[in-house]
Symmetry: C2
Subunit: 193 residues, 2 copies
DNA sequence: TAGCACATGTAACTTGTTACATGATTAG
DNA sequence: CTAATCATGTAACAAGTTACATGTGCTA
């Protein structure tokens, strides 16, 4: 079982879903965290069934679509998921190409790099707003249910909180570099004049 | 040319190095950013030579070691590196297994998860101190050179600044979750008594 | 009429990891 | 005597991406 398998188990522990549903939900809510494509998911689900961690029901489709398979987690699957969640994790490797470009920033044109950093800020700003909106939507949804179930709200907020901080740090770092590049350019211009 | 190839080019743009040197430096300075192993580097270097982006000199070794190859970047390599640095980058996918575990945290034992989050804080704290120390070492090194070359210092500081913010955000998020878990537990205990 | 939503899958390819392979010198 | 440092490489495997494959119904 690899990480993808446990992501799927984690989602199926909340509600039974088809492969298509899983991909759709993952793209919507987990896009920035863990990209997956439908080509990965079907073999992974087959593997989960083989391991006895999920079962599925076939739902016949009208129109000429492939039959839908709704997967649900088994007890063995819940045990496995819990063991994974409770196991320790070594810090992830960041693997962000943009940071590596920053490392070699000195070989490039400062003016051009200003544009590149502004673009990067815009992209992360977009992601930040997206997360803030999703968090907001979740809050109003829970309030509308008006059952005072603050626990599940706190749970749902968990990951969003992380990414919001992550994006804020990213943007503020880009701004730092941008200011440096701008000041540096002015210093040069000052020398030339 | 993939990202790894450009990382190597970026390092060779600063100074000529052997494959072994590259791995050693990468592990030391880029470990948390982009893990690489020596088994990847040798094919990648061969590819760079084939593309005309690097050349190498063979240095014969005493003792029965394989001959050392010192790679240096070519002009074509510098052009390629610069084009890569100046190209735009879409935001990276975070791919942090621990965040996904947090998503399924509700299936696990709260007490146990407190320990897991404390462990994660310790691990990131370690990484943070490591980066702070490296940054400090770099600063004193540049001051010792006493040539007032504040520009290259600022450059060297760039990536460290990012990671320090990254780790601080990580730790503060873990602490938030930890406090939530502790309060939650107290609430339960309160109910029981 | 072009594209998207639905719904599943296989095959080829790229990237990264782990295991295997060699072999002297030096520090604990 | 065990492990680490130096120094290069190949081969097998795991994970992820891209391209190929099918086919209807609805919306712009």
């Amino acid at each position: 079982m690899n990480t993808l398998a446990y992501i799927l188990l984690g989602m199926l522990a909340r509600e039974p879903l088809s492969g298509y549903d899983l991909v759709t939900l993952l793209k919507k809510h987990f896009g920035p965290f863990w990209a997956i494509s439908h080509t990965q998911i079907y073999p992974a689900l087959a593997q989960l069934v083989e391991a006895g961690f999920t079962t599925y029901q076939i739902i016949e489709q009208q129109a000429k679509r492939p039959d839908k398979k709704i997967y649900q987690i088994t007890e063995a699957g819940q045990v496995a998921l819990r063991a994974w969640v409770e196991s320790s994790t070594s810090p992830a490797i960041i693997r962000d190409e943009f940071l590596l470009k920053a490392y070699s920033l000195w070989v490039a044109d400062p003016k051009h790099m200003q544009a590149i950093f502004r673009e990067q800020i815009a992209l992360h700003q977009e992601r930040l707003s997206m997360h803030e909106q999703e968090l907001d939507a979740k809050r109003t949804k829970y309030l509308a249910m008006s059952q005072g179930n603050s626990e599940s709200l706190a749970m749902a907020e968990l990951i969003f909180k992380y990414t919001i901080g992550y994006e804020q740090n990213y943007i503020s770092w880009c701004n730092d570099v941008l200011h440096y590049l701008e000041q540096h350019e002015e210093a040069h211009r000052g020398e030339e004049e």
